[in-house]
Assembly symmetry: C2
Homo-oligomer: 140 residues x 2
DNA sequence: ATAAAGCCTCCCGCGACTGGAAGGTCAAGG
DNA sequence: CCTTGACCTTCCAGTCGCGGGAGGCTTTAT
């Protein structure tokens, strides 16, 4: 299979597949003409990567997952650990976004949204942070 | 005020402040020695930027918000529009992350997580996407 | 006088690709 | 046989929002 074929079958752009080879996630063979020659196993790995990435796993997660995928004697606990760590990160992000959602909703509700210049949103944005000696910027 | 002073007062790293100058969000004066000389108005803008960024507004949003901030005759409706668009994006992201959360939770629940190699998580990841002619990769 | 801190510019790097240029290869049609 | 066009190759640059660090000023404190 050439790269175009696996691209169509896996749903990944050719560019991405070349990138994955570059960083060592797949290692297709080479034909005499220099073209990449993908085996079925390569296709499966790429499909695996596409799915894992779409679930938000980082490249490093994917690297670890692929190793486990290749190792038929792996313990499912190892996979579960990676997945749970990822889930924790997702939940963290969810909490942050929920907080943002709430803050913004409050501000938007407080704003008349008419032709007058008076605006609680800008007023909030303009508040200078109370100086914090422990240098933790952007945290409020 | 030198950059260190505004950094402390605004909570933004000096590097970030220099970057904001580079992309035209602030325009401090210069002293004879070449040091940036920040006015109070610059400090307020930077604090504004820090707060807006911490609320997840994009740099381009910030640029627009700053313009409105400078314009004392602005209509609050314009600000509200930007904020609402941002809120929409946040809600979208929230929905995506929630979907990811649900999928991952299902997979994790289905996985025994013991020493055996059998793993539903890997099994799911390994499924090759059903070929889709409309080239929309990564969407499932 | 000297050391330390603060400031300057410039360049490289990150993550995970994406786009484009310049060129080799292959199958089909005239 | 030649051309066209699709496909493949490598390499380089850019993305976003900074952070790290080098190398070299100026200012401040001892």
């Amino acid at each position: 299979m050439n790269i175009g074929d696996v691209s169509r079958l896996s749903g990944l752009p050719s560019k991405t597949i070349r990138y994955y080879e570059e960083i060592g996630l797949v290692a297709p063979l080479r034909s005499d003409n220099g073209y990449r020659a993908f085996r079925d196993s390569d296709l499966h790995k790429l499909a695996f990567l596409g799915r894992a990435r779409s679930l938000g796993f980082s490249i490093e997660d994917c690297r670890n997952l692929l190793t486990l995928y290749d190792d038929t004697t792996r313990a499912s606990a190892d996979v579960k650990t990676i997945a749970r760590q990822h889930l924790t990160r997702i939940d963290q992000k969810l909490a942050e976004l929920t907080a943002l959602h709430d803050t913004l909703t409050h501000l938007i509700d407080a704003c008349a949204g008419d032709h007058r210049p008076d605006c609680p949103i800008l007023a909030d944005l303009a508040t200078v942070p109370d100086t914090k000696p422990g240098h933790s910027p952007l945290v409020r």
